[in-house]
């Protein structure tokens, strides 16, 4: 019998300084403005699906996809600006400096880990930002970038980009993200009999995307359908893992593929929802992932937001 585990984590604790009408400085531990899902959409009552988009992997304990290393929260400082362009146009900018990623621990270690609860492992900070254009109330499109040294000695770098879009209508919404990352990894060629071989640094690239659509059945005008919402989400991840990099990213590299989610939500309150979902994950390269895991799931979740 498998034993479960409970993990508690302080997700954010920060202070805002409202510098002027348009500028906000945030200091402390905060959700990084990298894409939309990690910064704004992942809380259960906001996330329309039970699970996460495939590019965000198994965060939350579901899914066998490796995901692109999630950039969720960190400790540092962020400067946010809003530029008003007429009645509906807005430009949003965020620029931040944070502790940054760290080298993963463990037997298969060497990969990138972004969990600020473990503290900083080197003297390098990570820098990033997001620039978005919104045409309120329906459209928003944003571009994010993040870069920082992750190895203990500060020699290896991790960088990531994200392009997100969001369309919200009266009864439906479509949103999606394209997410890519590059992690440098180092190794050494096998030398001739006890001698050292040539050292190398290679880039390990991983990228993916997801798209999500929702539709509220209240559009049909039947009062019993007013609280019902339908959700579909498709995610896809690929990497350049081909076995040539033996150790550092093998675990993650094996878990690429696609995921589709179908769900029906029943809203009990504006912030309370009962979700029923079915999800199927298809692993592209099962050989590399060591084990072949059938991953078709059915979810039932009650989510409540405060």
């Amino acid at each position: 019998m498998l034993k479960g585990e409970t993990e508690t984590e302080l997700e954010y604790a920060n202070m805002h300084y409202f510098f002027n009408d348009n500028t906000i400085i945030t200091a402390g531990k905060f959700l990084l403005p990298f894409g939309q899902f990690g910064a704004n959409l992942h809380p259960s009552w906001i996330n329309k699906a039970v699970s996460n988009p495939g590019i965000y992997g198994g965060h939350g304990g579901n899914g066998s996809l490796g995901g692109v290393t999630s950039i969720m929260n960190d400790t540092g400082i962020n400067v946010a600006n809003t530029w008003v362009l007429g009645d509906a146009g807005r430009i949003f900018t965020d620029f931040y400096a944070v502790s940054g990623p760290r080298q993963e621990e463990g037997d298969h270690g060497g990969g990138v880990e972004i969990e600020s609860k473990k503290g900083d492992n080197n003297d390098s900070m990570a820098f990033g930002g997001r620039i978005a254009y919104a045409f309120l109330p329906e459209w928003e499109i944003g571009m994010s970038y993040y870069s920082g040294a992750y190895s203990d000695d500060g020699d290896l770098n991790y960088s990531a980009y994200n392009i997100d879009f969001n369309w919200v209508g009266s009864y439906s919404s479509v949103r999606g993200e394209i997410f890519g990352s590059t992690a440098e990894t180092e190794g050494e060629e096998e030398g001739e009999e006890e001698g050292h071989g040539e050292e190398w640094v290679k880039d390990f690239d991983k990228s993916g995307w997801y798209i999500q659509g929702t539709w509220q059945a209240r559009q049909l005008g039947k009062s019993w359908l007013n609280p019902v919402e339908f959700v579909v989400r498709y995610s896809d991840i690929e990497s350049d893992f081909d076995g040539s990099i033996e150790h550092d990213f093998e675990e993650d590299g094996g878990k690429t593929g696609s995921r589709i989610y179908y769900g029906v939500n029943y809203w009990l309150e504006p912030s309370a929802v009962l979700k029923l979902g079915a999800e199927s994950t298809s692993i592209d390269n099962e050989e590399a992932s060591h084990t072949s895991v059938p991953d078709d799931r059915i979810f039932l979740q009650l989510a409540f937001g405060f």
Binding site: F18, N40, G76, R90, E140, S170
Partner: protein, 181 residues
Amino acid sequence: MKSIKFVFTIIVLTTSAFSIKAQHVNDPSLVAKGAKVYSENCARCHNARPAEEYSKKEWSVVIPHMRAKAHMTGKEALAVEAFLASTLTADVRHAEEYTKPNAPKKSGAELVAQFGCQGCHQIKGEGGKLGPNLDGVVANKGEAFLLKKLIDPKFNNAASAMPKYPMNKDDVKAIIGFLKE
């Protein structure tokens, strides 16, 4: 790294002490603007939350946090706060005009403007899209439906973001009359 974090923390703590406290402004145009901002921003990420979910004091804590999350300007956040405060029954019914038994009746148009209905609904071709279009709503749904909806917005949809407005029967009749025009 640690020293940088410490210095930033001190700067933010110090300067926050001199920040200006948001004011509650009882200005109809601010309320209408707040309804529009509320309609256009909350649903970008999540269902809009009805005003009655929190007290006025609680909203004054929620709004600055949401201002940061939604990238609202300070003026927009102030307008949203004014809109939410205007719809909170407990706050408004203590206003002088609601305590006088012979308070002057307002027209439907005045009430629609006062409550910021067009922040979320299209009326006579103008307004937001968070809620249904109200042009022709009396003909389509009937007066009885509107009467119930205005008194108890959640009667037909538990997830409705429509606030429970502090209005009496005369107000409801005036609004329905305006929507019929």
